[in-house]
């Protein structure tokens, strides 16, 4: 997993609520048996016309948001299907961070396992960020995971919460598996216990 420490990038405003994982990556892209290349299917229903040409009004098709590594979305982002393909599509496209007033639980967990930082900020801050990056798309946001802050060019700073264990995993770029494997003895002892007691 790619470690996450700091990120300075422009941000793409996705002014939509309840963006479910079917929107992030439609089912037609789930027939793959690998993770690679999912970025081409990212948001494909709202990003492309039925003939495959890009919809010019969609935020990711606008020239000013090319290269943005931060996505700013509405509440309940990533709801629905547990498909981790949604996270793979976002990271393959180039996103390293999603900011939202709230994430669905499974999506939030999946993000952390792939080095995609999900940041929860209050709705009014998300509204402010949307206004800011819509007016000035070249705005650079600075994210520092160690200090758990999002800093705007004018110095304005917003703090976010993250579980300390998850933070450490992201900073060091390690996933859960090593930790779980280190618990072998405890797992074996648990399995030796009688059932239904």
């Amino acid at each position: 997993m790619q470690p996450f420490t700091t990120l300075t990038s422009t941000a793409a405003p996705l002014r939509m609520e309840n963006v479910d994982t079917d929107q992030i990556i439609p089912a037609q892209y789930l027939t793959a048996v690998t993770k690679e290349g999912m970025g081409k299917g990212l948001f494909s229903w709202i990003r492309y016309n039925p003939d495959g040409t890009p919809k010019p009004d969609f935020v990711l098709n606008k020239p000013e948001y090319q290269g943005a590594q931060i996505l700013i979305a509405g509440r309940n982002f990533g709801s629905g299907s547990s498909r981790e393909h949604a996270v793979w599509a976002l990271t393959d496209y180039g996103f390293r961070c999603v900011i939202s007033p709230g994430f669905a639980d499974i999506f939030y967990n999946n993000s952390l396992k792939n080095g995609l930082l999900p940041i929860v900020l209050p709705e009014e801050v998300v509204n402010l960020l949307w206004d800011l990056v819509e007016e000035e798309p070249e705005t650079l946001l600075h994210i520092d995971l160690r200090s758990q802050t999002v800093t705007l060019p004018d110095g304005q700073q917003h703090s976010f919460a993250i579980d300390p264990f998850r933070k450490l995993c992201l900073l060091e770029g390690v996933d859960d598996l090593g930790y779980l494997l280190s618990k072998e003895e405890a797992i074996a002892a648990y399995e030796a216990r009688p059932r239904w007691t």
Partner: protein
């Protein structure tokens, strides 16, 4: 202080808990399918790991497989690769596979309970968000991503942060024509599609206790549509009766010990939930959704809200974009809305009880000329039972297609897709944009409401067809 059902099951599965770290939670049963497992097996191979407990891992094929009888080997689809990959992975790692060529296959959340794998007090996971279904047995069951599928395959454990608890109490008597599906759609309409994030629901109250296991599964299934990863119902005689004698159920003396333990799982009188929600069953009506998230639903006698009635600007924006996609108008009543397609199936409503209820509505009638209707049983066993009871004949004579078991048009991964702009009266769980096919417009409802819509060619109040 007493404990909730959730807390009892959680506490019984904590293998280790380091300071400042999430709990290491033991998983009793791991269900896998063709779509979300290939990358997890690839990870095992990459790291040279084995499946720790193949005896606690069960595989079937449901998401991408065709529901018409075809030879998978000759089937021209990428999904055939997923089927072959799952077969190979199960063979290489010694995992029980309920194959499409065998007698047991079906939707993972229908087959698990049918086989008796799903039992009270267990922890159950699957790379599928509707794993919440198994909570109907008093199990803690939730969907996971593919990375976590890999973790469970390798260690039989997951790192989990303890969620909060929310009691949803439904007391009172359900009216005629009002079903479990209407209870859960009403809960989600009230609490919002994201309202359960961070919580595990426990459904309780006299109306829940009276429900069959199939109906309880319908409710727990859609916990995720209410934002909760898991939903649970305390086990009782109805639960034990359902499990007894199934292939993986405890037998003999073990059965007695298991039931004695299961009886201890119910939430203690003095236990405290983090949140509570109450509904009066007698006030509920058949529900139908009008929007593109499952919280956008109304009683059949209701109408679509006007954006200006909503105070919250985000909700307003959501409503406007949903209605634009759905081709519906603010203030419009849902009754009378024409439908093009009727889909009866999915892990929410494809069990034998659902098919019996729907068949009773269409028996001796024809579906409307312009309607394409398909019935997709949840498993081969449901299909066989339905055929033994003659339900297949009732559906076919009414003009429905009678299919093989699978997820089908619930997520449109196989060829069963609704066309752009088509209205689908669907017994499934998600009305997301494009969920049932690019541009398709889903109206979620109960099996009897969907059956009634098929006959009339439009959304109707099924109560008018009941005697």
């Amino acid at each position: 202080m007493g404990k909730t059902l959730f807390e009892k099951v959680w506490d019984a599965h904590v293998v280790a808990q380091d300071e400042g770290a999430p709990a290491v939670l033991y998983i009793d049963a791991h269900l896998i399918h063709e779509v979300t497992s290939p990358q997890a097996f690839a990870m095992l191979r990459e790291r040279g790991l084995k499946v720790r407990r193949p005896d606690k891992t069960f595989a079937t094929m449901d998401h991408a497989i065709p529901t018409r009888s075809v030879d998978i080997e000759l089937w021209p689809s990428d999904a055939a690769t997923q089927v072959r990959t799952l077969r190979q992975n199960c063979k290489d790692f010694g995992i029980t596979l309920w194959d499409i060529d065998g007698p047991v296959q079906g939707i993972v959340h229908v087959v698990g309970p049918e086989m008796g794998v799903t039992q009270p007090g267990m922890t159950i996971v699957c790379g599928d968000s509707h794993t919440s279904t198994h909570g109907a047995f008093g199990a803690l069951a939730f969907g996971i991503g593919t990375s976590e599928v890999g973790h469970v395959l390798a260690t039989q454990c997951l790192l989990q942060k303890k969620p909060k608890t929310m009691a949803i109490t439904v007391d009172g008597e359900l009216g005629k024509g009002v079903t479990a599906k209407d209870i859960i759609l009403a809960i989600i309409a009230k609490n919002g599609a994201g309202g359960g994030a961070g919580y595990v629901f426990e459904y309780r109250g006299s109306a829940i206790r009276k429900l069959s296991m199939a109906n309880r599964m319908t409710i727990c299934n859609m916990s995720i549509e209410g934002g909760a990863r898991a939903g649970m119902i305390a086990p009782d005689e109805t639960t034990f009766e359902y499990i007894k004698g199934r292939p993986y159920a405890p037998k003999g003396e073990e059965w007695e010990r298991a039931v004695a333990y299961w009886r201890t799982l119910a939430t203690d009188e003095d236990a405290v939930f983090d949140r509570e929600l109450k509904l009066d069953a007698s006030e509920l009506q058949p529900m139908v959704t009008y929007g593109t998230n499952p919280g956008q639903g109304v009683p059949i006698t209701g109408r679509i809200p006007y954006p200006e009635e909503l105070e919250d600007p985000a909700e307003r924006r959501s409503l406007i974009s949903a209605l634009e996609y759905m081709g519906l108008k603010p203030g419009q009543p849902m009754e009378g809305q024409p439908v093009d397609i009727v889909f009866i199936g999915s892990c929410t409503n494809s069990r034998i009880e659902d098919l019996r209820e729907a068949a009773a509505i269409v028996k001796g009638k024809k579906i409307a000329d312009h309607v394409w209707g398909i019935v997709v049983p949840g498993s081969k066993s449901v299909k066989a039972q339905a055929e033994a009871e003659g339900l297949d004949r009732i559906f076919i004579e009414a003009g429905f297609e009678w299919r093989g078991a699978g997820c089908s048009m619930c997520l449109a991964m196989n060829e069963d897709k609704a066309g752009a702009g088509k209205y689908v009266a669907s017994t499934s769980n998600r009305n997301f944009q494009g969920r049932q096919g690019p541009g398709a417009r889903s109206l979620l409802m109960s099996p009897i409401m969907a059956a009634a819509a098929a006959v009339k060619g439009r959304v109707v109040d099924v109560r008018e067809m009941l005697n």
